[in-house]
């Protein structure tokens, strides 16, 4: 199984402003297609927001997110929806499985929105869930699954449509260290198998240390008259 061929990811001059007082400035980044990156930093620094920019879920106040030839933040609404559905696979911090849907239906939902439907979708969903050891839990709803199983269903939904860009937000937040290690290994092996670019946001040192390329985001700047241009602590790019 191979992903849509992964393209280079380029982030340039990203700035985001929350009201008049808080401004986040992000470091520039160039990531080759198929590369791995872990992003860390203290809470509230804007890691999830940064990941949302890449996923096309949020538009930065200024700056550019470019995936291959596509300026993601300049895309129209419908094109951005398609980009999210087809190019991006996103593993949410709280998994966000659809309530009441079975494991299989959660994966079918992701596939359907990406345009894969019918027998092909069914076969693919079963294949991915099987690869993640969930063949016996296909028809169980999220409520009936353990935390680890829910995490794997979320991963299956994120990768089933063979995304070129796999994004994971704190994938080990709800797992014990042993399970966390397994989850990260699963993410990396799946991304490698797909040839997809993998970006993991985590504040867990064990996860951060497992990656060769690391990006650490600094602290947000807050104050009464913080101008947009006011720089925050310089983010540190490790191993870039």
């Amino acid at each position: 199984m191979s992903a849509r061929s992964a393209q280079p990811l380029l982030l340039r001059g990203l700035t985001h402003r929350y009201g008049p007082d808080v401004t986040l400035r992000y470091p520039d980044l160039h990531l080759d297609g198929g590369a791995e990156l872990v992003v860390s930093g203290p809470s509230g620094v804007g890691k999830t927001t940064w990941l949302h920019f890449i996923a096309g879920l949020l538009t930065p106040t200024a700056g550019q997110v470019r995936y291959g030839d596509v300026a993601v933040n300049a895309l129209g609404e419908a094109a951005r929806d398609r980009y999210r559905a087809q190019t991006v696979g996103y593993v949410f911090q709280d998994f966000h499985l659809m309530p009441g849907y079975s494991a299989l239906e959660n994966v079918l939902l992701g596939l359907g929105l990406a345009g894969v439907r019918g027998a092909a979708a069914n076969a693919r969903a079963r294949e991915v869930l099987g690869q993640l050891g969930l063949e016996a839990r296909l028809n169980h709803s999220a409520r009936q699954l353990s935390t680890g199983e829910r995490q794997r269903v979320a991963l299956a939904r994120a990768v089933a449509h063979r995304p070129a860009l796999l994004l994971a937000d704190e994938p080990t937040a709800h797992l014990d260290p042993g399970r966390g290690g397994e989850a990260v290994a699963l993410l990396r092996s799946t991304a490698a198998e797909l040839g997809a670019t993998l970006i993991v946001v985590s504040h867990d040192p064990a996860v951060v240390n497992a990656f060769e390329r690391r990006l650490e985001l600094g602290r947000a700047v807050s104050g009464e008259a913080a101008p947009l241009e006011r720089p925050r602590d310089r983010p540190v790019l490790v191993g870039a």
Partner: protein
């Protein structure tokens, strides 16, 4: 995909879906079942009475005249003198004057005294006779009897069997009330084919049988309860009706006019019922609205997730609207089926009691329109949350 998602969302909120479905279907059935039944009774009664042109009885309530003489459901007003019958029969404008006499029963089945001209009645000139034998022969002598199809089935009497009638229109079951049985013995000589009308549950005999049983042996002492009258020409029918009603002892009643009057009363009742149905429908619309809005938070999260996974604004708008549309449509469909089923069931029981067959309940567009407005109303209730879903930013409700 929209349909696929909407179905699963409804399944997830199955309890709210079920309650809404029940509210819509019960309100729909409530709004439909009484109009359906009253139309069935109306049509059944008209069908059963359409063979009779003009009914002539003693003066009194026209509806009582129709109910007692055509449907055997009420006490007759009284007897017409025999001379009124002979006068009508001798009138040159008369094609047919069929005498009817009541007053006795056999196990609750009315004995209808008449003469062979009863069996010459037709729906239209040129049509075959409306009443005809399925077995046996026409009565020829007093105390020979023909059994209607239901009467034969109910009593188990066969051709050649004999029975004795009792006085009164109904059988008495009360303790201490003795059945006043007549001495004369009737013999079954024929069975009538089923018509779906009141004659099916009657015992038809020559009117002389009743006169003899009640000691009315001379023409002066005889009476007839009613005359079924047909003139040779339509104009004559109206002139005979007018002249008859002008006489001191008789009245002429067009069954169709009585039905129209009764229908007027029924419609007044139905107007009050329609008001009640409207309230029920509004309540069910409120249930739809509550159901749509009560699931707001849960919906906000699932909509955010759908958007995050790449669903467009149109898709989430469609999902919310389709969920409501499906529930309301299904509720309406179930309500219609329920009302038709209930109409058929109650119609059967009611028909048995009234003594004539009620046709199967049928819906017409006018009746359907009474409940179909619930559909746009339901969609209207779902519109604000659907617009809200379409406008929601995916990251707002994704922690």
């Amino acid at each position: 995909m929209t349909f696929w998602i909407a179905l699963r969302n409804l399944r997830t909120r199955w309890l709210a879906t079920l309650i809404t479905l029940l509210a819509v279907s019960l309100a729909t059935a409530t709004a439909l079942v009484v109009p359906l039944l009253s139309r069935q009774v109306e049509r059944g009664a008209q069908d059963a009475a359409q063979v009779f042109d003009l009914l002539i009885t003693a003066k009194g309530s026209p509806s009582q005249a129709v109910l007692s003489s055509l449907f055997y459901l009420d006490v007759p007003i009284g007897n017409l003198p025999y001379s009124e019958y002979t006068r009508l029969k001798a009138d040159p404008r008369t094609l047919r004057a069929v005498p009817l006499g009541f007053g006795d029963n056999y196990h609750g089945l009315p004995l209808v005294g008449t003469d062979p001209s009863f069996f010459e009645q037709r729906l239209k000139p040129g049509d075959p006779p409306y009443f005809h034998l399925s077995r046996g022969r026409m009565f020829g002598q007093p105390f020979e009897a023909l059994l209607g199809a239901s009467a034969a089935a109910q009593t188990g009497l066969k051709i050649g069997d004999t029975f004795r009638s009792a006085h009164g229109l109904e059988e008495h079951h009360e303790e201490g009330v003795e059945e006043e049985e007549h001495e004369a013995t009737y013999t079954v000589v024929g069975l009538l084919a089923a018509t779906g009308g009141p004659v099916d549950r009657a015992v038809v005999t020559p009117i002389e049988s009743l006169w003899r049983v009640h000691g009315q042996l001379t023409p002066e002492s005889r009476g007839v309860t009613a005359v079924l009258y047909t003139a040779g020409r339509l104009n004559d029918l109206y002139s005979v009706a007018q002249q008859t009603s002008a006489r001191p002892l008789a009245q002429a009643v067009f069954p169709g006019q009585v039905f129209a009057q009764v229908r007027g009363f029924v419609l007044q009742g139905q107007a009050a019922y329609a008001g009640l149905s409207l309230l029920m429908l509004l309540l069910s619309a409120l249930t739809v609205w509550l159901s749509v809005h009560a699931s707001g938070l849960e919906r906000a999260r699932s909509v955010a997730l759908l958007r995050a996974l790449g669903a467009g604004r149109g898709t989430v708008f469609g999902v919310v609207l389709l969920e409501t549309a499906l529930v309301v449509l299904l509720g309406l469909g179930l309500g219609v089926l329920f009302s038709l089923g209930l109409g058929g069931l109650v119609g059967g029981v009611l028909g048995g009691r009234l003594g004539f067959s009620l046709p199967a309940p049928t819906l017409d567009p006018g009746l359907l329109l009474r409940v179909l407005w619930l559909f746009p109303l339901g969609l209207l209730a779902a519109l604000p949350p659907a617009v809200g879903a379409a406008r929601a930013e995916p990251t707002r409700n994704l922690a």
